[in-house]
């Protein structure tokens, strides 16, 4: 399955309207999940039942676009069948590729559905070409989604040394990026994105407006307090403000969004095959706004010609929907290795 486009724009969909919106605004691929813990955005009311899945795939395929299914959480021995069942359903539905993290599930998918295209999820946390080539040799993966910890030079080195297509994150929420191995949510709530499909599950989150500001609590633990007018972030432990010594500050990381728009020509030059937009938990409005900007930017890069120029309106639109107070190039742009 090859795409005519040199760089695919991969957009998130938490619902059928979000999927349609992504496609209508220029996504080449849409990624989504079932309504359970088999994917890393397992939130109440989000994701696709069988009816929405069938309609979404039909809508995408009628327009020559692809649908990728995230099955990127880790099954346990007592629920193994739920995950293999999800792989079987994906194959039956005619999904274009499944995005997997667990090697056992990958072996099952390869053996049971030899024609099913496999992508290695960011949750697999493979950061070297050796790791990616291992998955290629053993399971025949077609694509790997890189964790957001590599510099641009390192991404280039990976691409030069693997036959596997490389997908990178272009825009969206950032976390501490220990993907697939982060235990912070589990530490506070007993549930982690890796096994339960949700970081800071809604049932453990409480917001409250108090005289001191808006307080965020995770399973009763105060993790942040926002002054009036101060921009807020997601209620995750990594983005909390904590007392360290006699200072209260973002001791782990600040709430911020990744935005690599200005690196787009470089990403194209080094051979990145797909750009992923984060945000299956977001609404169709976000999907429309972000997809539109990235479609225009990618088209401009692919058209070549004049030096790549970023429209101010693009950045304004992306900043508006960003988490926290700022955006960042993340690890892509850093002098040290």
């Amino acid at each position: 399955m090859t795409s005519p486009r040199p760089i695919e724009l991969v957009c998130p969909a938490g619902s059928l309207p979000a999927l349609k919106t992504a496609i209508d605004h220029g996504a080449d691929c849409v990624y989504l999940g079932f309504k359970d813990a088999t994917n890393a955005r397992n939130f109440s009311g989000l994701n696709f039942d069988d009816k929405a899945m069938a309609e979404g795939i039909r809508y995408a395929h009628d327009r020559g676009r692809k649908v990728l299914l995230a099955l990127n959480t880790y099954p346990q021995t007592d629920n193994w069948q739920r995950w293999t069942g999800a792989v079987d359903r994906a194959a039956t539905f005619g999904i274009d590729a499944v995005i997997l993290a667990d090697p056992g599930l990958m072996a099952y998918a390869r053996k049971t559905h030899p024609d099913l295209r496999l992508h290695l999820s960011v949750q697999g946390s493979a950061t070297s070409y050796d790791a990616i080539n291992f998955y290629y040799e053993h399971f025949g993966i077609s694509r790997a989604v890189l964790p957001r910890v590599l510099s641009l030079a390192q991404v280039e080195q990976v691409i030069a040394n693997t036959p596997v297509e490389i997908e990178v994150f272009g825009f969206g929420g950032l976390c501490v990026m220990v993907e697939g191995r982060c235990a912070l949510s589990a530490y506070a709530t007993g549930e982690s994105p890796n096994c339960d499909g949700a970081c800071s599950p809604g049932k453990h989150v409480r917001w409250e407006q108090t005289p001191k500001g808006m307080e965020t609590r995770l399973n009763g633990i105060l993790i942040d307090r926002f002054a009036d007018g101060e921009r807020a972030g997601y209620p995750t432990l990594c983005k909390g403000r904590f007392e360290v010594g006699d200072e209260t500050y973002y001791a782990i990381e600040e709430p911020t969004s990744l935005n690599t728009l200005e690196l787009l020509p470089e990403l194209a030059r080094i051979g990145v095959r797909a750009i992923k937009i984060e945000g299956r938990q977001r609404s169709p409005a976000y999907v429309a706004q972000v997809t539109q900007v990235w479609r225009a930017a990618i088209d401009r890069v692919l058209a070549g010609g004049q030096p790549f120029r970023i429209e101010q309106a693009w950045m304004a639109e992306l900043n508006k929907v960003s988490e926290g107070q700022s955006h960042t190039l993340g690890a892509y742009y850093r002098p040290w290795k």
């Binding site: 109440s44 049932k203 972030g233």
Partner: protein
Amino acid sequence: MKIPAFTLPAPLARVGARLPQLPPTLALVAGLNLALDRVLPRDTLEPLAGKRLLLKVTDAGMALRFTLTPRGFRPLLDSGRPDLTISATTRDYLALALREEDPDTLFFSRRLLMEGETDLGLLVKNTLDAVDWDSVSTRLAALKLPFARQLFARAH
């Protein structure tokens, strides 16, 4: 057309808060009940059953209290502690209804506040997001609701 930025004049919130809240609450639950089963799947919303829901329209001074019963949405007449409170301005509720704004975006910029049982709020938000107006609008055409049709036509 995008909804312009606006906030209702401050005195309105003070006056609104003194007015009876039942008429706007009745209008809200009537709209919700019209949508229930037709647009909003009742089984998905089941976790809302018996929960005390409060919708605050901050710049209009409105506080709409209601719940979901086996017979549909009903106003709540007392002011007991709500299980879920959602607060925003008139403009932002309209922008959300028309899918011009993303709730997380409004939350990050502190224009939308969700207090109480967050999971219920996520359920409401995601259930509304999942409504596929493409298929609903054909069914709505059979109903004699010109205003609703116009609103839905704008929304998608």
